[in-house]
Each structure stands twice: as C-alpha cells, then as structure tokens.
C-alpha cells in the first residue's frame, strides 16, 4: 500500500522525553526505526507498536503511532490479537531478551511457528537492565551479575537458534550501534510477510557494557562481522578477502588467494532456502558473527490460513446467518 503523504523520521517521534540511559544502543534502534518507517509506505495511523516490560519496552512511548506498553512477556500475544483484529495494520513488537525468552518464551516460540505477520524487534543485551542487572536467558555461562555473584550457571539461548527451532521464517541480526544496517534490515523485515524477527545486539552501558565490543567496535567489526545478503557470496574482512565454505557439515572460514581459494569457492547466501540447516549454522557461527537477513522464507501467514478456512466454512456450512443459527436443528412451537 502506498500513500501520498511523504513522511520523515520526525513524523514518527512522539513528544515524550526519551528516558534511556545516555549512550544506550536503544537510541540507535529508535532512530533507525523512525528512519525506516517513511520507507515502508504505511500511514502512521496504520502502524502499531506493542511492547512488554523492560528497558526495550518503553519503546512505544517514543513513537507517534498507536501503541500498547503492556505487561512482562506478553507483547507478542497481544500483537497477535491486534493483527487478527485488523490485518491491514503494520504491527511491531519491541521486546528484550528476558521479556521474549524467559517470561514470554512460550508466546515467542508460538508466534514464530504460527507465522503471524509481525515485525519483532528483539533487544538482546544479555542482561536484565530495568531490574538493575540480573542474568538473562542470553547471559553467558560464568557471567557475574547481581543475581550470579559467583558466575552464571544457566547456559544461554542463542535467539536465532531458538527461533529457527521454532520454525521462524525470517531471522536477521544487527549490531546495536549500526544505524544504517538496522534501518535497511527493518525495511526488509516489514516487507517480509510473516513473523520477521530481528535480533539487535544491544549494548547496555550500565549493567553489561561492552558485551558485544569484540564484534561491534569499529576497529574490529570488519574482521568479526559477516554481513550476509541474499544472492551474494559470504565474504568479509577489512580487505574483503575472507569467506565461508562448507567443510563437511560445518562452515569454515577461508582466505581468498590462499590454498588456491578463489571467490568462486565462497558460499553464496540463500536466505530463501526452506531447509534451515545452513541458516542454523550461520546463526551459530561464533567468529565471524553473522549479521543481516540470515533467513527469509516466504510461507503462508496465520491470517492467510485462517482466511482460507473461513472461506471453506462460508462455502460449506448450511447455516449462513446468526438468525439461521438460532432456528437451526430441532426447534418446536408452543402454542
């Protein structure tokens, strides 16, 4: 749907003061989404942001759209109802790692398997920020937090792995400090029909500062991030000389020009491949960490399947109105 109105990012900023800590990546996410929205061709009244509880979940207050700041873990369950109610709306979920994968874990996996047409922004900072620093379901083993003073004993989820396990059709990962990449990926997420999950590696400056610095810092990112694009070879590195090949069942980093490797040997990224094996290998890769749209498989959405079933009911059910229903089956007259 296109609109005659041409928005700028300012049209999506509310009059509320933004209250995140100075230096938080959340500011980058906010601005990147505000910059993405003018590009998606939706009227601002047709855009809804729904969040749960946590730092991330203050998000709707800062957008000049419709929104609900709801309760812990339930954002995507609420968003599912909103999308059911009005499939024309562009519905966005803003949620954190605790909100999505601890208290809201059940809703998270079920939204993905159902493929509700939503854009799900997962603010992953590997810590509970709003409650001031407890380990989350993505905190590392051994990580010292206020609730794990001697080290975290609970093995973490990798959100992408969990999502693919839950039959996610769209998964992307972006660095919290890269506004440009984020904006681009959010536009793609909106364009994708189905549940589009975007994991943001979001730095918490107060309770988990530097969690992603080995991946996202400007000085190291070229050598430790692989930004994938559908149809393009998976090449990375400051000198664009490193790439991925398959070594048996595993991905291997090779250097172009060494051991007879040429660019033609490098794997070409296929985000649309239904078989998730390679996507799973990509989300699990430790170095480089894969960014960009890793998986984007077109499949029927929940609402589309619902509509088909409704059509069958309309065509086959002999009862076609509420009045008919009231008088259907065995009725009798009392004179």
């Amino acid at each position: 749907m296109t609109t005659a109105i041409k928005y700028t990012f300012k049209d999506f900023a509310s009059d509320q003061d933004v209250r995140w800590c100075p230096g938080c990546d959340d500011y980058v996410i906010l601005r990147s989404i505000q910059k993405a929205l003018p590009e998606i061709g939706k009227k601002k009244e047709d855009i809804v942001f729904i969040s749960g509880i946590g730092c991330s979940s203050r998000f709707p207050y800062y957008m000049d759209n419709y929104g609900i700041h709801s309760i812990h873990g339930r954002a995507v369950a609420i968003a599912t109802g909103t999308k059911f109610a009005n499939p024309k709306l562009s519905v966005w979920v803003a949620s954190g790692d605790g909100d999505s994968m601890a208290i809201g874990g059940n809703h998270f996996i079920h939204a993905l398997r159902r493929n509700v047409d939503l854009n799900y922004i997962l603010f992953n900072n590997e810590i509970y920020g709003l409650t001031k620093g407890q380990f989350s379901p993505t905190s590392l083993l051994g990580q010292r937090t206020k609730s794990s003073p001697y080290g975290n004993t609970q093995a973490p989820f990798n959100p992408g792995e969990l999502a693919i396990g839950a039959h996610a059709k769209f998964f992307a990962r972006v660095p919290g400090n890269d506004a440009k990449m984020q904006t681009k990926v959010y536009i793609e997420a909106e364009k994708h029909k189905g549940t589009s999950l975007v994991e943001v590696l979001q730095n918490c400056v107060i309770f988990n500062d530097g969690a992603f610095k080995d991946i996202t810092d400007k000085t190291v990112r070229d050598d430790h991030q692989l930004v994938v694009e559908h149809g393009k070879p998976m090449i990375f590195g400051k000198d664009k000389d490193k790439g991925l090949v398959l070594d048996g069942m595993k991905l291997k980093v090779v250097t172009i020009g060494e051991n007879g490797i040429t660019e033609d040997d490098i794997l070409v990224h296929d985000a649309k491949e239904k078989d998730a094996s390679l996507h799973l290998a990509l989300v699990n890769l430790q170095d480089p960490v894969v960014m960009g749209v890793i998986r984007a498989v077109e499949e029927e959405t929940l609402i589309e399947r619902e509509n088909e079933v409704t059509k069958i009911a309309k065509e086959t059910n002999p009862i076609q109105s509420f009045e008919e229903l009231l008088f259907s089956g065995q009725t009798y007259e009392v004179e």
Binding site: S14, Q16, K43, K44, E45, D46, V48, F49, I50, I53, P60, Y61, M63, D64, N65, Y66, G67, I68, H69, S70, I71, R74, A77, I78, A79, T80, G81, T82, K83, F84, A85, N86, K88, L89, N106, H107, H110, E306, V309, T310, A313, K314, N317, I319, Q320, S321, F322, E323, L325, L326, F327, G329, Q330, T331, Y332, E333, V334, E335
Partner: protein
C-alpha cells in the same frame, strides 16, 4: 406406534427424574440427550445435567469410569435436573453401585443383567450379585438381558459384534420411551441424519430402539407406563440449549447488535471448552475464535483485539482465571472492553475439574494486584447464559471496563428449553468507538454519565496514542507518576464501576416480598433455590419466604438494603464456604446473615435446603 402398545395401565405424573448410567463408552450422554430432546419436543419442560468422569475412557466396568446423564421432565415448570431419582437405568454393576443411592426407595431401576458377569461384579467391588442377593429388595429391580436381546435382534444387520453391542443403549432408550409413553420418532429422525452415510448403522440402531420399545410393552414386570403431560409455557419457538452454547450465542448476538466482530482468545479447560468449540464453528459469521498457546495468551490476544476495535472475550475456568489475573489487571488499567467468562469448577488447584462449585467469586472480585475493580455478573441457568453473555458484552462496551461473567459446570453443561430470543428482542448496544479524526482528542477524557473513555482504534488518522500498564495522566493517558493523579485515577476507575449500578435492574424478590425468611443466592443455584422455596411454601403456608437471586454482583444492584430489611431472617446459600455472604456482610454490615454452604462438587438438593429453612424458622 401400534395401538396395542397402550393396553397397560397409565399413570399420570407431574414430573419425573430419570438417570441413565453406564460405562463412559456406553453412550449414556447421547441416550440422555435423545430422551430429553424428545420429551421437550413433545411439550415437557426439561432440565438436564450430564455427570461424567474426568478420565476420557476409564477402564471398562470400573467404578470411576461411570458416566451419567440426568433429566427431569415435567408437566409443570422445571427448574433443576432434580435430586432423588424416580427411575434409574444402570448398564452395568459399576453404574448400579455408584448411582443406586440416589434412587427413591421403592422406585424402578432397570439394569442390563447381561453385564452382571463375575468380572464386572469384581470390577465394581461387589462381593455377591446384587440382583440375586436381596440387597436391592427395597427397590423395584427390572433385570433385562439387554445385550443378548440386542444381539439377537441385530444378528442379521451385517454389523460386527462390537457395533451390535454398542446399540444396546438404543434398546434401553426404547424401553424408556415406552415407559413414558413417548413416540421415538424424533430419535429415529436424529439417527437417520447422524449416520446418513452409514445406512446399516441407522437401520440397526432403529431396530434396537424399536425392539426395546416392544420388549417393555410385553414385559410383565412393567405393568404401568407413565404420562407426563405437556407443560404450560409461554407461546413461541423453543429449542433445547446447553449453558455453554447459550453463552457463545449470547456473545454472537452482542457482536451483531453492536456492529462489531467477535474475537475469542481461549485455551482449552474443562468445563469451559465447549464455548470455544461452539464459536470455532461460526467463523464465517464474523467470529474469530483463536486457540492460543496458554491462558495468558488467550486473554492477551483478546486485549490486543480489543485495542484494535473488536468485541473481545476470553473463556476459562478457575485455574485459568488465576493465570489471566495480571492481564486482566492490564485491561482494567487500559480501560478497554473485555469479557472474561469463568465456567467455575471445584477447586482449589485442579480440584474437581468436571464438577461444579461457586468458589471463584472472590477471585473474580479481587484476584488481581492493586486496586482493580471490575464488573462481575453471573448467569443463573443454562438459557439465562445467553442473556448474561449479552449483558456482559453490553456493559463492557458501554462502560469501557472489563467484565467477569461467572457461570459454572452445572449450568454450563446443563440444558433446558429456551424460547429463542432474536436480535430484534435484544436491547441496543452503544459502544464508545472513535474511528474518525477529532479535533482536540484526549484518550482519557470521560463520558460524564458513565466515566467511560473514548475507544479510538488504530487506523484512525490523527488520534495516535499509546496506552499502557503504567499509571496514566487522567486526561492525556501519558505516563504519570504524580501521587495525586494516581489516587485520582484509582478513584475514577472505581467510580466508573460503581456507576454501573444506575444502569442495571434493581434487586427483585420472588415469592413473599416480606416476612420470615429471605433466601439469597447468586449464579447457577437459582433453579435449586427456587424449587426448594416453592416446595417449602407449599408445605408451610403460614411462613412467608422470599427469594432474592443476584445476577449482578459488582456493583450490587439498587434495592439491597430495602429488600433485606423486610425479612426477619436472611439465609445466603451458595456452593462455596460463604464468599457471597462475606461480600454482602462487607457491603451491608447492618444485617445478620445465616449461611448454607456445600462444597461437594454437586448442586443443592431441595431437601437439604428445606431442612435448613426449617431449622431457621423453628429456632
């Protein structure tokens, strides 16, 4: 049927309570439903109640695998499925053992004597055969070899022996049709329709039905058959309706009447799931029925749908209401329309999932964090569930606050005749939706009459706003931590609920309007209480007894104190430990409340209530 069938004596009854009991695979629910439907179609008033085990297919012949279906048919107004049984049909020893205590002494029990094998007797923990050891001498036992007679009748049917054995319920039903002088034609029609694609099954079942009918006619042990004449009912078109079905239809009616689409977010839970089943059938009639991943997602998705402009509901039972508590508090805070139906069952915890209780009242009123009042109403009978579901939807839409509708397993699974109420006979519903741009819009500016806020839905240009669980500024709805504003908002939300009092009917009293005893009840006990009060007054014409049955619990209706003050004694009868009595005492401490409570997973019987009335009025 042939005229010869009527050569025996005929006895006229004003009502009769019949229970069909058998193994959970014996088809007792179908048999009971057929008998009840035929009785209603032939003019009786009826009330039914199924009683089935929590296990789907418990081991055959076991005591805990017994399934029962009770029906009370009357030539007069029938308000309950009845207490003591006039006739019991027991398909095996386990069914006999678990049900015989409810049969009136001297009354008839019809048993399938073929099922009284050594192994079945053992499974039912009988040391000797009750049919021959004299232990049933104070009942009129009619042993009938139903299995072998059915087998003999169907030997040429072409059906396998399992299917033949399964038809014995139709044999039993045929006998009952003869006994109550009912034409089996409606069941024949039903079988033809149900097994349209299996003519052999239709033929076999009809044959079993007719064989049972003729067998009863010739049986010397059954010298009399009964006539329960047609009941006097208001003129109109009727159907038999189950409580859960009526609830579902009431919401569909409200959706039509308000011009909104109905959205149900739900998760399966006994005994509420039938509402989900029913609404799932009517998706082509503007109903969205979403089976969510859990109770919380059920209500959460309903909140999301309500935000986007649907008439949103969620259905559950006690444990589910507990899970929904936090989200229900969010709906209170958001001030969005939402109805939660709690079909109550025995608690706490998993409790008695298939049995009835009224013990979620306090949970409905207070089961949330913070000051979070909402509207609580209750349905009083299976058919009344239609009106109360409609009313719950009307109240939530007109007052912009969530409503909890309490029904229970007894009326949810029970059925009775219902004079069909069409959309034309229902009141208008005026919701607060705003779908067009308004100058100077504020999401929390209230309608002075109801204190309802405007319901601006996504997609409306220029009215973009964010609502949330944090306390809000009383006008803008933006986050506010101002202490004074919070207190004011708490009071406003409470006042909004309190104001509902002016929009609901005042308390009504049935029978005596003043005098010795006011019997008070709420929700699903209405039929039991009415039957007991009626009977008591007949036998004690010098006592003045009234019945005040509450459908509106929060807020309580007008007229409570005025009504209570006209009686010397007040008795609150409920299927819990006294939750409504406590609530009344809190609101009207000037009165003395006697209590009658029962928590056995069973409805009230008339005699226990009458004993209590006696005790109060004799002391």
């Amino acid at each position: 049927m042939s005229k010869e069938a009527f050569h025996k004596d005929t006895q006229t009854l004003d009502h009769a309570v019949i229970r069909f009991a058998g193994d959970s695979g014996d088809g007792m629910q179908l048999t009971g439903t057929q008998f009840s439907t035929s009785a209603a179609l032939l003019g009786n008033d009826v009330a039914t109640f199924p009683n089935y085990p929590a296990e789907i297919r418990a081991p055959q012949g076991s005591l805990y695998g017994v399934s029962g279906f009770q029906v009370n048919i009357g030539a007069k107004e029938i308000n309950t499925p009845g207490d003591a049984l006039d006739i019991l049909v027991a398909m095996n020893p386990a069914a006999l053992k678990t049900n015989i205590k409810d049969l009136k002494p001297g009354h008839m029990v019809i048993v399938d004597e073929d099922a009284f094998t050594r192994s079945n007797l053992q499974k039912a923990k009988y040391e000797s055969n009750p049919l021959t050891d004299g232990s049933l001498s104070h009942y009129n036992v009619i042993p009938v070899p139903m299995t072998s007679l059915t087998r003999e009748a169907l030997k040429d049917s072409g059906l396998d022996s399992k299917s033949i054995a399964r038809s014995k319920n139709m044999f039993a039903l045929g006998m009952l049709y003869w006994l109550f002088s009912k034409d089996p034609k409606y069941t024949e029609e039903f079988l033809k329709k149900k097994f349209k694609k299996k003519p052999a099954v239709v033929e076999a079942n009809i044959k079993a039905l007719k064989t049972g009918y003729h067998f009863a006619d010739t049986l010397e042990l059954m010298p009399t058959h009964y006539v329960v004449s047609a009941a006097k009912k208001e003129k109109g078109t009727y159907r038999i309706i189950m409580g859960n079905q009526a609830t579902a239809w009431g919401f569909m009616a409200a959706a039509k009447k308000s011009g909104l689409q109905l959205y149900l977010g739900s998760y399966p839970i006994t005994p509420a799931t039938d509402i989900l089943h029913e609404l799932a059938k009517w998706r082509h009639l503007d109903v969205i029925a979403f089976q969510a991943e859990d109770e919380i997602a059920g209500i959460s998705s309903a909140i999301g749908a309500s935000f986007a402009g649907k008439l949103a509901i969620t259905t559950t039972s006690g444990p589910g209401l507990a899970l929904k508590g936090e989200a229900l508090g969010l709906a209170v805070m958001l001030e969005l329309p939402l109805v939660v139906v709690d079909v109550q069952r025995g608690g706490p915890s998993t409790g008695l999932p298939t049995k009835t209780e009224q013990s979620d009242l306090m949970q409905a009123l207070y089961g949330r964090n913070g000051e979070s009042p909402l509207i609580v109403i209750a349905a009083k009978s299976p058919a009344d569930s239609y009106d109360k579901a409609f009313e719950a939807a009307k109240l939530t839409l007109e007052h912009m606050t969530p409503v909890v509708l309490l029904t229970d397993g007894y009326i949810g699974n029970g059925s009775e005749p219902w004079k069909i109420k069409t959309l034309d006979e229902l009141p208008e519903i005026k919701h607060h939706q705003v779908t067009e741009y308004q100058e100077d819009f504020h999401p929390y500016v209230r309608d002075p009459k109801t204190l309802a806020r405007p319901w601006a839905i996504p997609g409306t240009p220029g009215l973009e706003h964010v609502i949330g669980g944090l306390e809000k500024d009383k006008i803008e709805g933006t986050v506010s931590y101002d202490p004074k504003n919070h207190e004011e908002m708490v009071k406003l939300r409470a006042e909004k609920v309190r104001k509902v009092k002016d929009f609901i009917p005042p308390l009504e009293t049935e029978f005596d309007q003043e005098g010795d005893l006011l019997v008070i009840g709420w929700g699903g006990t209405y039929g039991s209480l009415k039957t007991a009060v009626e009977e008591y007054r007949q036998n004690n014409p010098n006592k003045k007894v009234g019945l005040a049955h509450f459908s509106y619990i929060n807020p309580l209706p007008h007229g409570v104190a005025e009504t209570f003050s006209k009686f010397k004694n007040i008795l609150v009868a409920e299927l819990n430990m006294g939750q409504f009595a406590d609530f009344l005492r809190m609101n009207y401490p000037q009165f003395k409340y006697e209590k009658y409570n029962k928590v056995q997973g069973l409805p009230f019987g008339s005699s226990e209530l009458i004993n209590k009335f006696d005790k109060i009025l004799k002391s």
